[in-house]
Symmetry: D2
Subunit: 319 residues, 4 copies
């Protein structure tokens, strides 16, 4: 072998990989803490993400922006998001039209169901069931959403922007069911959803427009709201659960922070090499001024429905 010199010098500066020991009955936070000493793969990244989330939440000067894409409501993650809002751990929420549609459906009394991806979709279609991978949504949620807007038509007829529109939905939703939209309204957390037209809510609005109703929601106007929040914050922290528009929309707002975001946690399964925004590491944002050069940041390459509960259970134990 070519390499025989001792590596004592190098070793002195490096951290030994400590093997993770699992204990019976350990708490989630104990597990996540034990992940800190291991090799720098996913396990260590979970530990780092937890430390960064803890730091941004405990930092009084930090405004926390949470961007969520993907099937978090059909996937059963709704209560975590609501809990984060109720505990005021999140200041700004950006999401997809699908997430708001799913949340609205459940707020109106509908449910999602456990299903299967290995199913005859034509059979589902006959039963009026819409499939989201292996969750199901009954198609009659659309009726419920349409009824809601019909009932509250006057409230939605005045000119507003998308943030005001989601706030109005939250205000008017019935109180009995747990809901992201409702909780955000109660906690005064703004919800941004630039592509709201791309969702079941959008379709129902179209139905009303087609019947001659006047609903005027401005596409650009709430940019001032998120950019002003970014502009004014002392420090920013970003948490991305999935990519897509929610991540990108927060990232572009970060260009208006005094120094970009200071904390960043990203849970994603997308790859960097295909060049899309969803898979881009947070480091890339430094070139744009979206992220501070010395920000604490980490990517967790993991299914969000695994990583988010794990991270949140550990964070909750720390605060």
């Amino acid at each position: 072998m070519k390499k025989t010199v001792k590596t004592n010098e190098a070793n002195n500066k490096m951290h030994v990989v400590n093997h993770l020991s699992v204990k019976k009955g350990m708490s989630v936070n104990e597990l996540v803490k034990a992940m800190e000493g291991v090799g720098v793969l996913g396990s260590k990244r979970i530990a780092t993400a937890c430390n960064i989330m803890e730091a941004m939440i405990k930092d009084k000067d930090c405004t926390v922006f949470l961007g969520c894409a993907g099937p978090l409501v059909p996937g059963g993650m709704k209560n975590i998001l609501i809990d984060m809002m109720e505990k005021k751990l999140v200041d700004v929420f950006v999401t997809t039209g699908a997430t708001l549609t799913h949340d609205m459906a459940e707020a109106l009394g509908y449910h999602h169901f456990q299903g299967s991806a290995a199913v005859d979709d034509a059979e589902l279609n006959k039963k009026h069931i819409d499939r989201i991978y292996d969750s199901y949504m009954p198609n009659d949620v659309y009726e419920g959403i349409e009824d809601f807007f019909n009932k509250h038509l006057v409230a939605f007829e005045k000119q507003m922007n998308i943030r005001e529109f989601t706030e109005k939905i939250g205000e008017l939703l019935p109180a009995g069911k747990k809901s992201i939209l409702k909780t955000a309204y109660e906690q005064k957390i703004p919800i941004f959803c630039p592509a709201l037209a791309d969702s079941g809510i959008g379709l129902m609005i179209w139905g009303l427009l087609a019947k001659g109703k006047k609903i005027n929601v401005d596409a650009f106007d709430d940019l001032k709201d998120i950019l002003n929040i970014a502009w004014d914050c002392k420090k920013a922290g970003v948490i991305y659960v999935g990519g897509g528009v929610p991540k990108n929309y927060i990232q572009q707002a970060m260009q208006f922070c005094p120094k970009g975001s200071s904390y960043g946690v990203q849970i994603t399964t997308d790859r960097e090499e295909f060049g899309g925004s969803s898979g881009a590491p947070l480091k890339e944002g430094i070139s744009w001024g979206k992220m501070e050069y010395q920000a604490k940041r980490v990517e967790v390459i993991c299914d969000a429905t695994i990583a988010l509960p794990l991270l949140y259970a550990a964070v909750l134990e720390r605060i």
Copy 2:
């Protein structure tokens, strides 16, 4: 071994895997045709996708919806999209705000550059270069876009929807450079971009709004345009390059087609198992009524900058 019975019966009904033979100087279409006989992995899927694209283009009754996400302009794919529009192979185009921003930048004389992902992003930031994986965009494109809107302010002040807004940009862009926006305007191909606020164009509009300009672009109004096209078409074909909002927006329109789409080709690297819309196989759309039960459809699991040129070069040879 447990299994010793001859499989003659089964074999009679099955297609033997024919090994692909490469010939010196073969055309792209000859290569893609040779892929047809192989095992049903990516190679065969390329061949199938090419057949489906050919079929939907040659079908006089078929309206073709093209949805594009990802860094197609910094990735060098712009001319393919323009060529498809010029040859009238596409009837409706849905894309991201980033793609329109990148296209607009190039139409105004700016360039993207080949770069590296293994770079010091803080150095790039000092040089005012924004990184998109391993492509670079000079940050001064924003100035150019702002100047454009300032110059044409009157044209953009009247109330319109997003489709009309992108059409107006296409109309007013200078003619000298190849441009998706310009070509779509010339060819009367509507461009939908539900999340346009989530882009450099959005930011520049915000700048004008902040200065008190009146720009009123409606977030929902152009739903009527795409849903009417879907409603009226005899048959629909969908081509998805990447996922995100462009795919989902076309998919939801397909629910309004008389029978859903009849042809579908999807190029993606996203996985099905995480449940997001981007990675969902086209089959899932059958449950929603987005896709006909017997539609010709295929997923190509591949970097779009590899699959798209390959497919388009082969398709072009056939039409």
Copy 3:
């Protein structure tokens, strides 16, 4: 909208998605149990995998085969594997030459170190550090392994098969350090490693062969050992951490079980669509007779260094 019929009938048969609620200080098992009610994404798969692992471990008739690929030792997962062996939860262990080399290195007193993937590899080379993504291994482990074989040369000179060879290493390793090889020897758990030549251990053996030493290890002989275990077991359970040779080698042995494996858990990040054995879902094994038609089986699409500690901590709480 086209679909308006109520879905009461369908709903009656389906399980509602219950949203996961995180509690402060909850144990890992409580978290994993809470994952059971959610949508059938990664979170639910973790819960299912945990149930299946629990079932196969508690089933007195079940022989458990554990196949491990990937950087589990540099990744800090060694103690989990050792703990599973010490608690006799595993009956057969199949792994890669790299894993045995890394384990042997640590048993001989060397360490792995936390490192970085964004490093100048030429600099590492000068420092005699070998990089494994973002873990480091000092190159002088090879010396230590060579010394070990030189010291125990007589023991290794007799004709043996690979299983006997790994057993002999385990017997002769010093006792002071925790080691997979040592623990397997002590617990009488056979270790199979078909590609042992493809590893640092292989290279060191080559060095001895080059010096004229007689080491005769048969490539095929231990097939009889694993196939006989498979043949004789009442029921089999398989756990795959990663794919590669370890998974495939167990899978082919399962063809010799009376009815294939009855339980299967696979943690992988590989995709099905590229057709390789590593990404193949367990269901595929049914066609081969490797897995029982009605086996309890699940794939967890996740970084093993996240999923394995999570699963094992929950399993440990249940047994």
Copy 4:
């Protein structure tokens, strides 16, 4: 916006992204050449890989090592590998036991078939069909392989190593069918397959051993052969189609090259972040001395059944 300075200075040093233009009837090589000017995503990587393959093939001093994993024979890629051997573009071939089993099956007159992954695997099992994602293999190939070894038993009874064993198979296979094993034998290209026991061939050998036949194949002995080739070569070039043992086995041999490999092309869909050898970028090998610091190297993140024909058709046009 914060960044307004002109980037002329930076631009002067950078290459503009040139958009790929597709021409009707263009050859594969013309397409691949057009990929060179685009953004540095997959398309550009294909162009770079082609340049590197061309360079290593034209370099008279370069010994080319080809490592192949994955379902290349059921996937229809056999003829490309054979053509590369017949044209003497490859000097050393390393592969999996599965690939040799599939090749041997076809050499003995069996076929693989196009199938479907959405199939009832229990039905396939009843029909004695083994599924490899969406290709099928009739289970009776095992009989054919067993018959072959029975017929040539004397030839296989003498002590040999794995390389000699695969060479002997190639020598004795009937001549009528195209075969990797046969062609390698004819072209005197050594085939290494460290995990040969992990394959259908291994199973058939076990059957003979169980009947008391004496087959003695050494697990480590052919390390001397590949390491000597590595040691003696002036320059080395590596081509990896997939990862697994074939890649790792060549990589470890590269540590014995005078300066590591000088050219490297890797086609893979595995990710770097999970730390496995299969997904490791070639750059990582520099730390180990497996790859020269200034080697020409590239990773193509793509299904091999798409990338390999594309690359090979373009290379063939250039030589």
